[in-house]
């Protein structure tokens, strides 16, 4: 039986962690993602950019208490991709 290929955008630990966190919340800012994933600022920033380029997350840059603040939220495309990824993973595990 042929398995669906895993989405290369999501099949990366940090990008998958970011999307998994965003699935359960309406939005999360950069510091929250940094704390929860344990990633470095640079790596997190790069992976957020890749997810944004893929159209999986929406990134809003603004100010909070006069400091730059980046807020991320999952797009419908991101949610769809995540659901497809989970289904593909389960197919792998069940066969």
């Amino acid at each position: 039986m042929a398995f669906a290929p895993l989405d290369p955008v999501l099949h990366n630990q940090l990008r998958l962690a970011i999307v998994s966190l965003l699935v359960s919340v309406e939005q999360a800012d950069f510091n929250h993602l940094l704390e929860r994933t344990g990633a470095t600022r640079g790596n997190l920033s790069v992976q957020i950019s890749k997810l944004k380029e893929a159209g999986y997350i929406q990134v809003t840059k603004g100010l909070r208490d006069n400091y730059p603040n980046t807020v991320c939220r999952l797009t419908p495309e991101g949610l769809h991709a995540f659901e497809g990824y989970v289904k593909a993973i389960k197919d792998y595990l069940h066969h």
Binding site: H11, N12, Q13, L14, L16, A17, S20, L21, L22, V23, S24, V25, E26, Q27, A28, D29, N31, H32, E35, R36, T37, A39, N43, R64, D65, Y85, V86, I89, K90, Y92, L93
Partner: protein, 195 residues
Amino acid sequence: MDTPMTPEQSLRLIESMISQAKQSFSRMSFYFLTWGVLLTLAMLATQVWSGVDPEVRHGAPWGVAGAVGGALSAWYGARQSRKEEVLNPMDRIINWLWASFVIALLLVLFTTLLAGGDPGIPITLMTGIPTFLTGQIMRFRPLVLGGVLFWVAGVAMQLVPEADVRTALYCAAMVLGYIVPGILLMRKENGVRPA
């Protein structure tokens, strides 16, 4: 985090992150502590005042507690919303739950007072609902038990006619239903494990 993942590792990572996200609630201990202290003081003040002048209904302490609590809650809520790092849909549900409770509470308060009744017991019983549900949503057992305590206290207040005993029951419910869970929640929010 760039090492290759097996399907098992992917699934574990997803589960772990979703589980973490579900625990990302706004800080709520401030509200339980503030209202718990204010309403306990209001009840005690009413009781003392009634002893001095039993012929008059003494609503002033409740009005003061409501105004101070409302102002402090509004100030804290506005401050928190500026600082919040994550917006959890469960936070929104908890906010609406408490907003609907406040609306129902005010309606019960005014209609009962207009009818010449004592709103203390129905309000105590009602207070159990959002406390219990908030505890269930947050999976925080002290608040769940706090909600149950309000129901027990409300029923007990109905059964005893003595004002002093009713006051003691109300204060006990406030301390054990709001203040103690509020302290435990604050410790949890600050990352301190209970002893």
